[in-house]
Symmetry: D2
Subunit: 235 residues, 4 copies
């Protein structure tokens, strides 16, 4: 049995918990609040934008034969960002001046810190799990959402055949990387697999509950105001 | 006015909010639950342990004249970890097999991603703010806690004169780095300043409320069990 | 005057020295030995292949508005590698099992170490200078080489209008980055500018003199043999 | 047989070639030109200074149980730098305003690029080989040089018992890291082992022949002058 299958079996209850998250279930059933969806869209746009440097950091460490895959993924991310901008316009959602929530910020830091500071097979693990999770999560929504719904382009983007093929390719690479890894490294990869699922759940939870930063109720002076101030003073 | 003073002024309400966190106030007044303190100690041990690679990543990018300061800080962190282990033994607190909470994990990723992926002055900003925040936070506790209290060694460690001098030195370096930075970089540093304060507040909040991972109530199979399984199977 | 113009003025004698290198002059005049050209091609293929992780490392640290440029450059590098493979086939040159010379290996390490360990504007400096140098170097060859010559596709690739526009774009970015930098950072960028020119000259010199590794006359057991040995022993 | 022993056997002719380098043999026999030694000392001071960020980058990626070793090594490097400064004063050698030769610059970039961009076991390989090579190289000099000779403190520093124990410890760690590695990683480690020996030989060769930058005979305007110019103009 390959590494991915084995981990998905081991973490099955956690994975299932993710797929049953109210955000996905309500999106599927057409009962999800539009403002909740908008809040997800605004946060996820920031996340996907940060996936570009993550892919760059992976490419910087990828063995020769894995490099083209990252070059392709970088191109795909640019198209995905365009999808966000197009949908935001269609839905009247503002994408600028959004502060990432703690969970969003944290997940991005996790991607970057892993890609920069850990070995390539470890970084690839986080990439694979994040993409696999998104593929299966949006397949849940696909079960109920109509193709004419304004959210459909996202559903199609992540649950469609092109993305399915992309995830299968990642899975084959992931299994090969794990197959060539020593046991200590494979244990690290198993831990990162689980941590990534935990972040995926936390992300849906954050979007659903519109949570920002723990312990902070209102927003004090923001850095944007500060920046303007600096400009104004010519500092 | 130096960069640090200016930022502390700008973020004064947020900073004050941090210093009034129930964890600190109750620790000062002797009303903090011991299990809450133990939970903080277990999480913070993991955090301080992760500060060692953070210092390494900063040293890797430090200009020549800043390097010795990081070498000294690395030595100080080793002593701080020994303090944690000594106190844990004295208080009967188990330090092994602790899973970092999301906020703890996230804060560590933020340190590492910043040190690895951003410029040295940006990484130094996060270092300075985290140390300054800890210094002032534990000064709050010092106002009320008795020197004979078993938690006192932590209070003394972060609010004492040696640490105060360390923080003053960091502040002078930080002001010099910001003084030499262009305006775009200085705006990034101001943003990282604020983000670090937000993580500090989130950390106290996490310790106080014993929060783990959003959306996950119980713990499924953990990676430690998996590791044993792998050993058992000789994989 | 912009940063690039200023540096090119300052380093004019060194830059001119590069453009008058015998490799370029003889390639232009049709007197360059074919085996010397083949040796350059084999080494440069390895270098361009390593430029892909370099671009990844830059993308990983690029501000939002610089990211698309790196995504485009990554795509261009893939096409450039295809050009090398096509020309190698046409000229009967073997591209596999080539050990990088010290200068080639060193230049690649310089790219990677700068992108990983220094700030983005510093990494971008090395990128700009390397591309600018190649553009102008191959313009020297263009002055004399006939468009029907089998080496022409390389000449066209780096001295043609598409590449000229790419270099102009890099130069505008470089000037903007330097314009926003503080004086300490700008001094570092000036130093990296010069170091990159020195590596460019060393690279032509290495190709022209077919130099390998200083102090090593013949090649002892290579890692490829070792790898086969490991396979054979099942280690 | 452990990884290190196996590689040292495989690369025995190359290793022996290094140990018979004229620099070492003449230093042992008391026939090495003093200006050659001074040139080595000035270049190696720069190299050791750059070893500090290298150790930082390794610490940033080290598993928990390897971290203390790097903290110790960082402290040892600071003492080694003090030895260079003390000897330079005693011998009347100027340490400032030295431009690294290409080989020196390149070797440093190799250390940094490997530590930043490759996995921890790969970075550790370069560290081990560099230290092992220095230990054995200076043992050659020890065979002939008198303990009263002004160069002796360097001989003692690298060929003495304390350094021998340090190298044995590194070797045990290296063997353990290789033992836990998969075969692809182990092949990479074997290749880095050889490359490091090649850089060691190139370094002795550079010091012995006082080589600077290939293809560059005299030094044009240097960055130091430029920096002064910038100051003078108030830019």
């Amino acid at each position: 049995m390959g590494f991915c299958r084995r981990q998905l079996d081991r973490l099955q209850p956690l994975w299932q918990h993710m797929l049953e998250h109210p955000f996905l279930v309500e999106a599927r059933d057409g009962t999800l609040d539009e403002t909740v969806f908008a809040s997800w869209l605004r946060q996820d746009y920031l996340f996907v934008r940060a996936a570009l440097p993550f892919q760059g950091a992976l490419l910087a460490r990828a063995p020769v034969r894995e490099r083209d895959a990252h070059a392709v993924a970088i191109h795909a991310l640019q198209e995905e960002l365009e999808l966000f901008r197009e949908r935001a316009r269609a839905l009247g959602i503002e994408l600028e001046d959004v502060r990432p929530s703690l969970v969003n910020h944290a997940y991005v830091q996790f991607l970057l810190a892993t890609a920069h500071g850990r070995s390539y097979p470890e970084g690839h693990t986080v990439l694979y799990v994040a993409e696999k999770a998104y593929h299966e999560s949006w397949k849940v929504v696909r079960e109920g959402l109509d193709a004419s719904h304004p959210w459909w382009p996202f559903v199609e983007n992540w649950s469609g055949e092109a993305f399915a093929a992309f995830v299968r390719d990642l899975e084959a690479r992931q299994d090969r990387l794990a197959g060539g890894a020593g046991s200590a490294l494979r244990t690290e990869m198993a831990e990162l697999f689980e941590t990534t699922v935990r972040y995926e759940i936390a992300f849906w939870e954050m979007a659903y509950s519109a949570s920002g930063w723990p312990g902070i109720v209102r927003d004090w002076t923001t850095v944007e105001e500060e920046a303007e101030e600096i400009d104004a003073e010519g500092r």
